[in-house]
Symmetry: C2
């Protein structure tokens, strides 16, 4: 299931990004700035040639000076170049495994990732039926301890299930404990769920989650910044956490010890001006100490129900849109094709997918993709006779009063 | 065990207060203002005569006008007068039961109750070995649900025990559940505990707490605004809660449903600018909903340990003192007699009570009372050979850094 590349993402640029994703480690800010400076194709050329644009090098030297560290651009470039491998091999492996590549400019690119600035992912590999951009328009991250208690597992599953039932996508990391409970709860609620991995989307880590990931691919999407075949490493988990935080409107920490990966995700969420929430628990359990610390310090809001989470993350579109003028309109985030499909969905009764496709002037596959995304984002809902618009009260009521 | 009346509390004023305590309901602001206007003796005369000072009546009419309610001073005075009973009977009953009367101006009067303004108690009946004023110099209220869970009981007992072991007095209401657990924990920690009842100190409500109250009288004190023999009523529990809040530096709510007496105490604590704290718990339990509401709304600080409570309620004397100049000195709150006893306690080794009494120039009974109070307030500690000064680091260290 390959997404149609959006305008402005030529094939050679996509291919160049695939090469760069293998050469630089995800989140590398220097590579991020290099791509921003001259585009992925020229960035790849320069790195392989072994010398960067002198203006860029001068600017990097300035940045290094300001932060008081030594610039070692030459060695960095050499290290990148040494890791070069034919990107077509990754593309072929990905395609064979059923994964697709999503890069900035694609219609499926979640533009809220741009908030990561220089650390924005170079691209994302995705495997799953849900449209990542649509799914994450209304999304909340639920994260927490691997060594969760039965209380934590119950709370994570319950929160995720209620959020999902109300049209919110749950983003998590696919790990044992809270992550798995969140994904499972979300699957039960009917909305897509997004597992953001620290290894290739074709890898299964942890091994025991093979079945879970299979269901997530069916009702959501598994994503990764690392090429197919990549193994998880300790630093990758931490780097990955910034994507979980950036994809979603807010992060809920369900259980976390005082030193934990979940608190790392929480720090990213706060740094990105996303809502940070924590679930309290018994003060007799170490697994809630991190949550209580976040609440006590005022970094996180104490949340005890899906209602309270939704009250906070608010209405569609107004949080992640950088400079919205006038009243926030949920449709502002949609591209032209999707808007046309949305216009073709009736408010009452229902219309079949084929009828909507004809009305919107798109092919059936596109209509299916758009409708799935619109449903995940809460614009439309499936009925016996096809699709109809979801009442906008459900979507916008909270946005007007909840903040 | 009658406390020596302090200077300025003549016997006829004390007796008048006893009469007024039976005539007006505790917390009656009009009576509070009448006593403040002309003193308890003249207040009693006027009420029994059936007519108040015309200047006072005019002022009350103004207050009633401003708050938009009808002044009905005549009816109020008649109702008070109708409830008159010979105060010497109450005094005799109290004395026979082993209770003492504490009124404003007495050396045992906890002056922080003056923060209640017009609703300040007219007087307090006390039964127990601890000196109420000293015990409450360093005190924290622990309150919560009657229908507490095992988690709540465990947490209340643990917090109270640790606070008590570190020289803090635990104030609570003697009820089932959290209150009882707090008192029991405090008893285990070695410091006094104060049970503030909504019935006469000679009454046992709830019945099952007869043994608990007996131990509290031995290692603390049971107090009440109502005369001996008075029964608890629903409104009295709520009126009583303001005294629990006012006596202590801060109130910790351990478990509370969304509508509960504990939240009423919390409201008083906040209104009196006392520290308000709440202990989080499982979000799956209704008994923690009130706590989470307080935390979410920012009214209460989330606390998870005795350390965090002490960090908040801070150093001795600086919270409740209205206008302290220069660095807060813990001894500022002590009267002359107690200061002389304190000066007579050695810093090293130890001295027996009789030696200290001679050195301080007070009789043995006074020395025993003062030493008990000083120990409760953390100034001195018992050692094998009698008493010695407690190191002031323990007392003042937190005050300098903890806030």
């Amino acid at each position: 299931m390959e997404t149609t590349p959006g305008a402005g993402t030529p094939e050679d640029e996509r291919t160049a990004r695939v090469a760069l994703m293998r050469m630089a480690e995800a989140g590398d800010a220097v590579m991020g700035r290099l791509i921003a400076w001259c585009g992925p194709r020229r960035a790849l050329e320069q790195v392989r040639r072994g010398s960067l644009d002198s203006d860029f090098a001068a600017k990097e030297a300035e940045i290094a000076d300001r932060s008081g560290r030594r610039s070692d651009l030459t060695r960095m470039v050499a290290a990148w170049a040494a890791r070069y491998a034919d990107p077509h091999a990754d593309l072929a492996t990905g395609r064979e495994g059923g994964a697709r590549l999503i890069v900035p400019g694609d219609s499926e690119w979640p533009t809220q990732l741009d908030d990561l600035g220089d650390a924005r992912p170079f691209g994302l590999w995705a495997d799953g039926r849900a449209n990542l951009r649509f799914a994450c328009l209304r999304s909340v991250a639920i994260v927490g301890a691997r060594a969760a208690t039965p209380y934590g597992v119950q709370v994570a599953a319950q929160l995720a299930s209620e959020l999902s039932a109300r049209g919110w996508t749950v983003v998590s990391g696919g790990a044992y404990g809270i992550d798995a409970a969140a994904h499972r709860g979300a699957l039960g609620g009917g909305s897509p769920t997004v597992a953001t991995l620290a290894c290739g989307v074709d890898q299964c880590y942890p091994r025991a989650h093979e079945d879970l990931f299979r269901v997530i691919r069916f009702q959501g999407v598994v994503v990764s910044e690392w090429p197919p075949g990549a193994h998880p490493t300790r630093p990758r988990f931490l780097v990955r956490n910034r994507v979980i935080a950036a994809l979603s409107r807010g992060t809920v920490v369900v259980q976390a010890a005082l030193r934990s990966g979940a608190l790392n995700t929480a720090t990213h969420a706060a740094g990105l001006n996303r809502h940070l929430m924590a679930v309290p628990g018994p003060i007799t359990a170490e697994t809630s100490e991190g949550c209580h610390m976040l609440i006590r310090s005022g970094k996180a809001v104490c949340v005890t129900s899906a209602d309270e989470v939704i009250d906070l993350v608010g209405s569609l579109g107004d949080d992640l849109a950088p400079e919205r003028r006038g009243p926030a309109r949920p449709r502002d985030g949609l591209n032209d094709e999707t808007l046309r499909v949305l216009e073709a969905v009736p408010a009452r009764g229902g219309a079949g997918t084929a009828v909507i496709a004809v009305e919107a002037g798109v092919d059936l596959t596109t209509a299916i993709g758009c409708l799935g995304g619109l449903a995940a984002a809460g614009f439309v809902e499936p009925v016996d006779r096809g699709w109809r618009l979801r009442r906008q009260d459900d979507l916008r009521g909270r946005g007007d009063h909840g903040r």
